[in-house]
C-alpha cells in the first residue's frame, strides 16, 4: 500500500446544473413532499369531520361565496405562465428575460395576495365558529402562508437578479419556479373541497 493512489480528476466537470442534477432541487422537492403531505392530511381531516356531519357546511352556515375564490383560482393558474417563462429564461441564462418575467410574476403574487384578503372576508364562517370553520380556515390559512412566503422569497430573488447575479442565482430562480408550481397545483384540490364540496356534495 505504498504506491501513490490513482487520481480521478473531476476538475473538468461543470459546477452548476438545473433540475435534479443540482443539489438545490433535492431540498425544494423534499420540502414540497413534506408540505404536500401536510395539505393532504388537512384535507383528510376535513373529510373526517365531514363524515361526522349530516349536512356540510353544518347549519346555520352558508358555503363560502364563489366570486373571489374563483377569481383567485384564475389568477393562480395564469401565474403559471410568467413562472414558466421565468424558468425558461433562467435556464437560457438570459438575464434580461429573467428580470422581465420575475417582475411579471411578482405582480401576480401581489394580485393573488390582495384577492386572498377579499376571499377571507367571504368565507361565511369564522375559525372559532365550529369545527367546519376551523378546518376551512386552517386549509386556507396554510395555503396563504405558502403564498406569502413564496411571494417574499420571489421579491428577495428579484432584488438579487436586479443586481449582478452569479450562475447560482439562475438555479435559484429555476428552483423558486418549481416551488411556485407546487403552490398553484396544491390550490386546485383546496378550491374543490372549500368551494365546491359544500355546494355539490
Amino acid at each position: 500500500m505504498s504506491e501513490r493512489p490513482a487520481a480521478l480528476d473531476v476538475s473538468v466537470l461543470p459546477a452548476h446544473a438545473f433540475g435534479s442534477r443540482g443539489l438545490a432541487w433535492w431540498a425544494t422537492v423534499g420540502f414540497i413532499v413534506i408540505e404536500a403531505g401536510m395539505f393532504a392530511m388537512v384535507i383528510a381531516s376535513l373529510f373526517y369531520l365531514h363524515g361526522e356531519e349530516a349536512q356540510w357546511p353544518p347549519a346555520p352556515f352558508a358555503p363560502p361565496e364563489l366570486l373571489w375564490g374563483t377569481v383567485n383560482t384564475a389568477i393562480l393558474l395564469l401565474s403559471a405562465w410568467p413562472n414558466h417563462e421565468m424558468r425558461l429564461a433562467a435556464e437560457r441564462l438570459d438575464l434580461a428575460g429573467v428580470r422581465r418575467w420575475i417582475l411579471v410574476a411578482d405582480a401576480f403574487s401581489v394580485a393573488f395576495l390582495a384577492v386572498r384578503w377579499l376571499e377571507l372576508g367571504d368565507l361565511n364562517v369564522r375559525w372559532d365558529s365550529n369545527a367546519y370553520g376551523s378546518v376551512v380556515w386552517v386549509l386556507i390559512g396554510f395555503h396563504t402562508f405558502h403564498l406569502l412566503t413564496d411571494a417574499i422569497e420571489s421579491m428577495v430573488l428579484t432584488a438579487m437578479v436586479l443586481g449582478s447575479p452569479g450562475p447560482r442565482r439562475y438555479v435559484d430562480v429555476s428552483e423558486n419556479g418549481i416551488y411556485w408550481y407546487f403552490v398553484v397545483v396544491v390550490w386546485i384540490p383546496i378550491y374543490a373541497v372549500v368551494y365546491l364540496l359544500p355546494r355539490w356534495w
Binding site: 500500500m1 505504498s2 504506491e3 501513490r4 493512489p5 490513482a6 487520481a7 480521478l8 480528476d9 473531476v10 476538475s11 473538468v12 466537470l13 461543470p14 459546477a15 452548476h16 446544473a17 442534477r21 443540482g22 443539489l23 433535492w26 431540498a27 423534499g30 420540502f31 413532499v33 413534506i34 408540505e35 403531505g37 401536510m38 392530511m41 388537512v42 381531516s45 373526517y48 369531520l49 361526522e52 356531519e53 353544518p58 375559525w127 372559532d128 365558529s129 365550529n130 369545527a131 367546519y132 370553520g133 376551523s134 378546518v135 380556515w137 386552517v138 417574499i152 428577495v156 438579487m160 435559484d172
Partner: protein, 654 residues
Amino acid sequence: MSGDARAPALPGEEEERARLERALDPGPGLRGWLRSVSHRDVGRRYVATAFVFFALAGAAAAAMRAQLLFADNDWIGPDLYNQLFTMHGTTMMFLFAVPVMEGLAVYLVPLMLGTRNVAFPRLNAFGYYTFALAGIVLWTAFALDVGPDTGWFSYPPLAGPEFSPGKRVDFWAQLVTLTEVAALVAAVEIVATTFRQRAPGMSLDRIPLFVWAMLVTSFMVVFAMPAVMLASTYLALDRLVGTHFFNPVEGGEALLYQHLFWFFGHPEVYIIFVPALGIVSSIVSAFARRPVFGYPAMVLSLIATGFVSFGLWVHHMFATGLPELGESFFTAASLLIALPTGVQIFCWIATLWTGRLVFATPLLYVIGFVATFVLGGLTGVLQASVPIDTQVHDTFFVVAHLHYTLVGGAVFPLLGGIHFWFPKLTGRMASERLGKLGFALVFAGFHLTFFPMHQLGLAGMPRRVYTYAPDSGFEPLNQLAGAGAAVLALGVLVFAGNLLWSARRGRVAGPDPWGAETLEWSAPSPPPRYGFLHPPVVFGRDGLWEREAGSAVVTGLRSEPESGTYEVLLTNLVDARPELRADLPGPSIFPFLTAVSLVGTLVASVFTPWAPVFGGVPIFLSLLGWPVRTPPAPVVLREGEVPDVRPAPARAAP
C-alpha cells in the same frame, strides 16, 4: 498519522489541506462555536445533546420507580408524577431517540459515503439548534412547574382547553412541533446526501447497510412527521385561538387526534428502530470479520419495514371501538411486520455463525439486543390480537413491551454503536473492561426492571397512576423493578464515566482500530472538518476490505477560503458516476439566529396569538443571511509571527 498517510502525498496536497481548513474554520470562541456548519461538529453535538436529555429523562424514570417502591407512597404527589411520566416519554421519544439517531447519521453518513459534508450544511446546523433550544425550553418549563402532564401523546379531551387549563400543554404542543421541524430537516439532508454525494463507484447496491437504514428512516420521517405536526398544531390552535377540531360540542372529533398522532406514532417506533438495525449490521460485519450475509435480503427487509410500518397505527386504538374489519386489517399488518425483522435477525445469525467472532463490547450489546428484542417482539405479536390488547391495554404489560422493543431494539444497539464509533468520534479507544462492566450492568438491570412488569400488567396494575393500594399485592414486584432500575442506572453511569474518561485518557485509536470495512474508517480519527482531503473512489461493496485491489481518490475539487466555500462531488443516483462539482457554503451565524427566532416565536405564541406576526420579522431578516458566503475571519498576525499554514495537529499520532 492518518488514513491519508498510507499513500504518499499528491502534488499540492499541503496547500489544499490548508485551504480546506480555512474554508471550514468557524473562528474562535462562542461565536465560532455557533457558526460551525461542519457535519462532524453538528453530528457530535446532536449526539451529545441527545444524551443529556437521555440522562434527564432517565432521572425522571428513576424518580417514578422510587415513588412506586411502596404502596400508598407519597414521596411524589399525583401532579408531579403526571409531569414526570409525560416528560420521560416526551423526552425519550422526541428529544432523545429520534435526534440521537439522526445526529449519528449526520456524523457518519457523509463519511460512509466518502463526501465532505451533508448536502445542506446550514440547514443542518439550523435543525440542530432548533432541536436543542426546543428541549431546553421544555425542561425549563418543567423546572418552573409548567411541565406538560397529559402523557407523551397528550390526547384531547384531557389535553384540550377545558380539562387542561394553564400553559402546560401549550408548551408541549409547540415544542413537539419544533422537534419535528428539526427531524424533517435532517431527513431531507440525509436523502439528498445519500442520493447525490456518494463516492464514485458506490452504486445503489454498494451502499453500506447503515446508510440504507438511515435512508429508509428519512423517508419514513418525511411521510410520518407532518401528521404529528398537524396534530400538535390543531391542539395548540384549539387551546390558543378557540378552534374546535377536537371539541365534539362544535362538530369536532377527539378521535381525529388519535388517528393523526398514531399515523405518526407507529412509524415513529420504526423511525427509532430502523437506524438501530443499521448500527447492528455495521457492528456484526466488523466483529464477525465478514460482510453481512444476504445484503439484498437485508436491504429489501429495511424497505419493507418502512412501508408496513404505516399500516399499523390503529393497533394503538383497538380500545376505541373501531369497525371490526378495520381492526382485522391492522391486526394482519401488525403480524406481517414481524417478517422483515425476522429475515434480518436470521441474516445476522448466519453472519455471526459463519464469522470469526471478536467479543468486544459493541458485539455484546448486539447479542443483548437480539435476546431482548425478540422478547419484546413476541409480546408485540401477542398484542396485535385485539382481545389480548383490550385486556392488557393501559397496564404495565404495555410498559414492559414497549421498553423491551425500544430499549432492547434501539438503545442497546445505540450504546454498542457509541462504543464502536467512539474511536472515530474522539480519536481514542473506550476502555473495554469498563465497557463490558457497563454492558453487564445495563443488561441485567434492564431485565430486572422490566421483566416483572409483564406480570404486574397481567395482574392488572394500571400505568400512569402514582401509587397503588397495599392489598393489591403489587409491592414485591415493584420493589424488584426498583432494584433493577438502580442497577440499570449504575450501568449507565459506568457507560458515561467510561466515555468521559476515555475521551481524555484512552488509548490513541488510529484511523481503523477495528479493521472495519466502511469508508469512515479511512478518514483520520477524529476526522477533520472536511472529512477527506481526497475523497475516495469505490470498487466494491466492502469498501476498505477491497482496497488491496488498488485504491483511487478524487482530485480536482476546488476550495475557496476567500469566500468560505469548498466543493463536493455529485454523482448520479443509480450507479454513482461523477456528474457535477457543487460548492457548499462555509460557516455562518445565521442558521443559529433563525433557530432562535423560530423557537422564540413559537414560545411567544403560547402567550399571544400575534406572536407569528411579530416573530416573522426576525425569522425573515435572519433568513436573508443564509445565501451570504461569508469569508472566514482574517488571519491576524502579531508582530514577528508567520502565517500558520500547517495541517491541523494530528491528535491521532502514535
